[in-house]
Amino acid sequence: MDAVQLIQVADSTLRLSTPLLLACLAGLFSERAGIFDIGLEGKMLAAAFFSAGIAALTGSVWVGLLAGIGASLVLSAVHGLASITFRGNQLISGVAINFLAAGLTVLIAQDWFKQGGRTPSLEGSERFGEIDLPFAEALSGVPFVGPIYSEILSGHTLLVYVGLAMVPLTWWVLFRTRFGLRLRAVGEAPEAVDTAGVSVVGLRFAAVAICGVLCGLAGAYLATGQQAGFVKDMTAGRGFIALAALIFAKWRPWYALGACLLFGLLQAVAIQFQNIDVGGFIIPVQFMDALPYILTVVILAGFVGKAIPPRAGGAPYVKER
């Protein structure tokens, strides 16, 4: 691998990590509050379609972004209604949301655009443009630092930087604010939060709503930043990789960044090289595709550090009478 390839891989790692990171942080908020969410995939998909679809219709990516976040929030509300209000099974609700999004996006896309379940290609102001960071041009000549700054870090769309900024923000909200303390408490011991006179239901809905907004950003990035438009099933399991990254990161924001960059790197390498030849032994591309899932199973099995989920995760809260 030469320097040019290295920079290409690093650059696309950042691109491919962003939707994973946003979805992973979305899951982090939800699961830290005790609401399992395997519907990340569906929410991303819905947001991807509505952001691209509305952007194509209105010509503005910003209106599209809002629509994407709105669609994701609606599915979040369904998840909240099922798992918080009606104390249903959170996992089954997540499965339902994934299928709802997979079906409805194609149905509506076909009705609106008649292109076999896709949106038209987005152009100009219908997409997020690439942003050059300040001094990127000036620094590009500097050895080592120059390529890293101007080739890898600079020149991405806005949502890439939003995703990166979300990591410290999530850390700060969860670990340095009263809201974050309560949110984590509601995922560990909701009865204690209830005793303290704080609404368990309110906190959990807030967490599910934040999850919806972040999934909305992730989906919008996919369809209007990384790619130019929506195609059927375009999330292609990214919501589940994000879920895997969340477990890999043991439900912590900075670890989440690491896990998502790692999984993004695996995708970037798989795209760049297909089958990799390591000293005569060929690593098939399918193995690279499966590696995030294999790593997650290994982590879950507790052979390499133990991943302990929030204690009240998955259990609906029933007030004592």
Binding site: F86, N89, A96, G103, D111, F240, A244, A290, Y293
Partner: protein, 363 residues
């Protein structure tokens, strides 16, 4: 005392959920500018009014019976096996190996061998998540999801690099030997005059699925193991106190579940395609979740729910053919059924329970 009689729990709750799902689906159809009533008539026309429609419906229903039973057996042990898709994919590999590398003299022996191969491969794929859940406490939902993706990668690798015939472009195995071809409903029921089930994929595996329904019913309600599975699912601590080994029950329930999911491949791979192709399952593993929820984890309920989804699948194909409604409508209906019968169960149940309390008080 129960708040609701058992018959109401078994029939009214799923029927009301189905009704809600149907109403919402009708609204969706109207929203995309089609008429839900004529759409429904078209589905009935393309499915129930032609014997080939029946042939497709029963073919799909065969798949859904296997995957529905798989989810249901795990449900009885309070395990959510979301990995039916991956287990069925691996089951397909088992079927392909059995059909290609063992010279079968007759299909009646081959179907037996293929069933064993499918069940073994499916069960093996469920074994690792089961052991991880039972011994290491890894959440079985997450591990089975991960195993779905790993299964897809494994199958992709095997078909592209190992089993693909030399010179072939498509990632698929070659066709199985003629002796393994299963008799279709057309072979079995058509006469010179009637031409029943012409050009439709339903085959003898349908009866295997019916037998599986009966076997699961016997297992769950009429054997010691079934009792242990149900006791474990009802309350783990009480089951442990009664001397039931949780590791053993978790692993056995998941092995049966994975085996049943794998056996679906006998229908698709041996009965229909007669070779192993990529994505032979087409999401049937996930439809098993809807079927098991709708059928209340009872084999007879699963039989009915599988027929319903078979109807929806074939009807959906008709809609996609003749109208502007894409096949994905079925995915929406499936999602709504899962949502109402699974996640929003209490929303349907609570008002019903209140109603029955009032009725009881007045009588």
């Amino acid at each position: 005392m129960d708040r609701m009689p058992a018959w109401a729990d078994a029939t009214l709750v799923p029927l009301i959920s189905l009704f809600l799902a149907a109403v919402l689906s009708a609204i969706v159809i109207m929203a995309i500018g089609e008429n839900p009533i004529s759409a429904f008539m078209l589905m009935v026309d393309g499915t129930l009014m032609r014997s080939s429609g029946w042939g497709y419906m029963l073919y799909y229903a065969t798949n859904f019976m296997f995957t529905g039973l798989a989810v249901a057996v795990a449900f009885h042990a309070r395990l959510f096996n979301i990995g039916g898709e991956g287990q069925a994919l691996l089951g397909g590999l088992g079927v392909a190996l059995v059909c290609m590398y063992i010279p079968w003299p007759h299909w009646s022996l081959a179907i037996f061998g293929a069933s064993v191969g499918a069940a073994l491969f499916g069960a093996a794929w469920a074994y690792i998540p089961a052991v991880l859940q039972a011994k290491r406490g890894s959440h079985i939902v997450i591990t089975t999801i991960m195993f779905n993706f790993i299964a897809a990668a494994v199958l992709n690798y095997v078909l592209v690099n190992v089993l693909r015939p030399k010179g072939a472009q498509e990632p698929a195995t070659g066709f199985f030997p003629d002796a393994t071809a299963l008799p279709s409903f057309f072979d079995m029921f058509a006469t010179e005059g009637s031409r029943l089930f012409r050009n439709s994929p339903a085959n003898v595996t349908f009866f295997l699925a019916l037998a599986a329904c009966v076997a699961v019913w016997l297992l769950i309600w009429h054997t010691r193991l079934g009792y242990q599975i149900r006791a474990f699912g009802e309350r783990e601590s009480a089951a442990k106190y009664a001397g039931i080994n949780p590791v053993r029950i978790t692993v056995i329930a998941m092995l049966i579940s994975g085996g049943l999911a794998g056996m679906m491949a006998v229908n698709t791979t041996m009965g229909e395609a007669e070779r192993l192709i990529l994505n032979a399952t087409e999401g049937a593993g996930f439809i098993g979740i809807a079927v098991a929820l709708m059928g209340r984890s009872h084999p007879f309920g699963i039989f009915l729910a599988a027929l319903l989804f078979g109807f929806l699948y074939q009807g959906g194909a008709e809609l996609a053919l003749w109208t502007n409604i894409p096949r994905e409508l079925i995915v929406v209906i499936q999602a709504l059924v899962i949502l109402f019968t699974g996640a929003l169960d209490n929303m349907v149940r609570m008002p019903l329970e209140r109603l029955f309390l009032i009725l009881r008080r007045t009588s």
